[in-house]
Each structure stands twice: as C-alpha cells, then as structure tokens.
Symmetry: C2
Subunit: 112 residues, 2 copies
C-alpha cells in the first residue's frame, strides 16, 4: 500500500503551469503552443516544452497541420491521472482519520 503511483503521470500533473495548460486545452477544445502562450505568463517555447512532456506521458496528443501543431487532451489518460490524484488524497484522508482516532483514544485514557 505504498502509493503505487505512476510517478511520471503524477509529476506531469504536478507542475502548476502544466495544470493550467491542461485546463486551457480542456476549456478551449485544444490549442497550439502559440495560442496557449497568449493566455499564459510564459513564453511559447516554455509551453512547447510542457506540451512535449505532456505528450510523452500521453496526457495530450499533438497533430501537425500545416505550419501549426494542434494539441488535444487525451481524456482517458487524464481521467487516470485524476483518479490517482484523488486516490492519494483518499489514502491520506483515511490515514489521518485513523491517527486522529488513535490520539483521541489516548487522550481519553489519559484523562479518565
């Protein structure tokens, strides 16, 4: 029960800029490095690099079209990443809950 996470996926989604890129792609139904960089505080090249790593882990898919290169989100893969995210959260939730119960029990034993 040691997390068992696809570390590449997590670290891909771990970067704030990449999260915003995914967000923009979802909201806009795809985009190019240039159009995305218009709406982000970083340069086109930075966005291009991010799109590269997102493509490599399969979260987006880029298709050349003329002089452009359009990127779209792979919803299934993103769904997997989100699932891992929430699963990690749930794991910690459970553990926190157990710890809380234990410490409460100790308190009670101490006081009475």
């Amino acid at each position: 029960m040691t997390e068992a996470i696809d570390d590449e996926l997590w670290s891909a989604v771990g970067d704030p800029t990449r999260r915003r890129i995914l967000d923009l792609l979802l909201a806009g139904g795809g985009g190019t490095a240039t159009t995305l960089s218009d709406r982000l505080p970083v340069t086109r090249q930075a966005v291009a690099k991010h799109l590269g790593v997102l493509d490599r882990v399969g979260l987006v898919h880029g298709t050349p079209s003329g002089r452009e290169r359009r990127y779209d989100v792979d919803e299934a893969q993103l769904a997997r990443a989100v699932a891992q995210l929430t699963s990690v959260g749930a794991t910690w939730d459970a553990r926190l809950d157990r710890i809380k119960r234990i410490s409460e029990a100790i308190q009670r034993r101490r006081q009475g």
Copy 2:
C-alpha cells in the same frame, strides 16, 4: 474558479520524497532526520532539507530535544493540504465529465 490553491502547500506535498516522509511520520508517530533517512533512499541531509520546507509551510513541527530534533506532523495543516488535493481532483473530474457529455452529444448529433 481558477484553482485558488495555496501553491506552497501543493508544491510541498508535490514532491514524492516529501510525501513518503509525511507517510513515515504519520505511521511512526514522528521521527528525526536520521531515523527517517534510515527508511528512505536518500541521505540524512536531503531529509533534513525536506523537513525544513515542510516545517516552513507548517505541515510538520520540529522540536529540539537534546542532540536530537524530533519532527511531528501537524494534522490540521495536512488535512487542509489533502482537502486541496482532493478538491483539485474533484474540479477536474467535473470538467472531464462536462467535456465527455458534450462530446457524446456531438457524436449523437453527427450520427443522427
């Protein structure tokens, strides 16, 4: 609705090693840099640095005791971080769901 995350908290739990450290602290009811590094594939100094940033964002609390420095998890703060984590997951879940529904609608319209 632009995430509205405490970025320090997120990036603190974003690191895999720090997640493992928090995990170990929770499981063992606290620990020192040395005891933690025994159970991790990194050096004591690396662990010490991580404990430093975790302390800075309030996820753990270190108290000197003799020549040791014992660290314990701040459960409330960790709970907040976990909540943000799951909230981000939920946000994306919802968005993915909306996208999915929309694309299905388009499919249906296209086919008949």
